[in-house]
């Protein structure tokens, strides 16, 4: 029975201990005193955080703690909500991304995103992947073919769909659709990949495939993932940040957060006493 399930990916942290967040040299995302308001309600309270390049950083915390909102600051998706106001600083690669003169299009090319609910376009598999490339001016058919194949291979989906690239993406299973969305996001070669609970709507086997994929993708991309699933955080992340009611409570190596948290609230949450 058990051999139906391949062995689970080992916790990333066992394969060499990363430095503590304070000792991180090459941070790619840095926030300082970042606060966010929905109208008058404050959703994020002065969050300062440095995220390291090419590792997986997990945001955990109970629903409504602001972790998704914080994630959406990095590609300015909160701009879509009229009433949102942001204070403080957020830098990516040392450059401010919150200013009014920031080119949001350019930012979103560098910071890709995968959403909780898989959202393939009602187009063919090929056109889903090619969408971003076409947007940014790629017309050459050969280049498109190459990038589509590379992205689908990168998302571990190529072998399953290579014979039906021109069929509708909506015919794929839920897990395949989510991997298609990941392939679509990496097709335009972002530096950072934001994932907002990418596996929460998937069954265990599809979840495992996405987790394996994430571990593979961190060789090339910086990954920030929001998750409700603490086992998932331990399996795939190098660093974990715990949020509670809009505040960053604790941020450390994942092993420390889950085995030796410094704050009482973190311990209560990761041991399942609330949340």
């Amino acid at each position: 029975m058990s051999d139906v399930f391949p062995p689970r990916p080992r916790p990333a942290t066992e394969s060499g201990s990363p430095p503590s967040p304070e000792a991180v040299q090459r941070s790619i995302i840095e926030t300082e005193g970042l606060s966010l308001f929905y109208g008058k309600a404050q959703a994020l309270k002065s969050i300062s955080l440095k995220i390291q390049e090419k590792v997986v950083t997990a945001f955990i915390g109970p629903s409504g703690c602001g972790k998704s909102t914080f994630l959406r600051c990095f590609n300015r998706m909160n701009d879509l909500i009229d009433t949102v106001r942001v204070q403080g600083q957020c830098r990516i690669g040392g450059e401010d991304i919150l200013g009014p003169d920031v080119d949001v299009i350019e930012l979103r090319k560098r910071v890709g995103m995968v959403f909780q609910k898989s959202n393939p376009f009602p187009k063919s598999i090929f056109e889903n992947i090619a969408y971003g490339l076409r947007l940014h001016g790629t017309r050459d058919r050969k280049t498109l073919d190459e990038v589509v194949e590379r992205s689908l291979r990168g998302a571990a989906l190529w072998d399953e769909v290579k014979d039906r690239l021109h069929e509708s993406a909506l015919g794929l299973s839920g897990g395949q659709q989510q991997r298609l969305c990941i392939a679509r996001a990496i097709a335009i070669r972002p530096e950072i990949l934001l994932m907002d609970e990418p596996a929460s709507a998937l069954d265990p086997i599809a979840t495992m495939k996405v987790e394996e994929l994430i571990l593979d993708l961190k060789k090339e991309f910086t990954i920030v993932i929001v998750t409700h699933n603490m086992q998932q955080a331990t399996r795939i992340s190098d660093y974990t940040a715990f949020f509670y009611i809009g505040e960053l409570i604790e941020y450390d190596r994942t092993t420390r957060i889950f085995t030796n948290p410094q704050r009482k609230q973190t311990e209560d949450y990761v041991t399942g006493r609330f949340g």
Binding site: E106, K109, Y131, H166, E167, L170, A185
Partner: protein, 310 residues
């Protein structure tokens, strides 16, 4: 042996309401059947190849010789031309309301109530508006600009009748398009924007293609509403009698719906012309049905393509 979960074999209240709703549906179907049956009984015999393809060069009140080809052309032309005007304006307005305007702002609420009020205006008022705005103001201005002594633009014409109908049906298209735009899964817009698309690119490449079936529904409703209307075209373009079909946008035209009115009020002998009257009605219904059918087929093809592949 009666268990606790055994329900009574007949629930009188449920049976009553099932019967009531069924009867109401049957009643509607019966009315439709009676109307169609009566029309075909009275007019079906009149519809012949000659009746459909014949012109008005013979006596239009003579049931054995009259033809209604110019009226068919006129009606089809005004409805199709109206579609060309109303779809872009309605769709663009709906895009503004759902994608750009802040929902609940004073301006949005004002536009929405204006659209709703427009839908409630009696059609004869649109006819008068057409005369005042399109013919006198627009047409008159064009004439004085071109300096011609004869009115070329400032008279009833196919163009003005179609525009008047477009003004009348624009709320239908706006509402249908808005519904289609709202029904699009919000995740699709987010996905497009997150890939670095601008708002306009997202609307053109993702939102509009997915709303196309809904937009076509709006077009179908507008066609249905406009095809049978007489009042808006009465002063703006329809003619009592013409020798020929319209050759340009500034020509007047004969029209099936208006022809029904002409036959029933101007005929020298109502009894003798009644077959033409009912025949014209049958053709008008068939034309409206045909235009709808085309739109429905196009819509279902688009839906199938969207589901199947790119």
């Amino acid at each position: 042996m009666k268990g606790r979960f055994n329900k009574p074999s007949i629930d009188p209240v449920a049976a009553f309401f099932t019967g009531l709703t069924g009867l109401a549906t049957l009643f509607i179907l019966a009315i439709l059947g009676v109307i169609l049956g009566y029309l075909f009984w009275r007019g079906g015999g009149q519809v012949s190849w000659h009746f459909i393809t014949g012109g008005t060069d013979t006596d239009m009140f003579d049931a054995s010789r009259a033809g209604i080809f110019p009226m068919i052309i006129g009606t089809a032309a005004r409805v199709l031309l109206m579609t060309v005007f109303v779809i872009p304006v309605g769709v663009i307005t709906a895009i503004y309301l759902t994608e750009y305007a802040r929902s609940g702002s004073l301006l949005t609420r004002f536009i929405r109530s204006a659209v709703n009020n427009l839908a409630g205006v009696p059609s004869i008022v649109f006819g008068l508006f057409g005369v005042g705005f399109f013919i006198s103001f627009l047409g008159g201005s064009l004439d004085s600009l071109s300096g011609s002594p004869e009115p070329h633009w400032g008279k009833p014409a196919l163009l003005w009748a179609s525009l008047t109908l477009a003004v009348m049906t624009v709320p239908v298209v706006i509402v249908a398009t808005e519904e289609a735009l709202k029904a699009i899964q919000p995740g699709l817009r987010e996905a497009s924007l997150a890939l670095g698309a601008t708002k306009l690119e997202t609307i053109l490449r993702i939102v509009l293609p997915n709303a196309l079936p809904g937009i076509l529904t709006g077009g179908i409703l507008a066609i249905s509403r406009a095809a049978g209307e007489v009042a808006p075209i009465l002063f703006t373009g329809a003619a009592y009698y013409l020798r020929d079909t319209p050759k340009s946008l500034t020509d007047q035209f004969m029209d099936l719906a208006y022809h029904v009115y002409v036959l029933s009020t101007q005929s020298p002998n109502v009894e003798l012309t009644s077959p033409i009257l009912f025949g014209t009605v049958v053709v008008l219904l068939a034309l409206t049905f045909g235009l709808n059918l085309i739109a429905v087929i196009v819509r279902s093809r688009i839906r199938r393509q969207m589901r199947a592949a790119h």
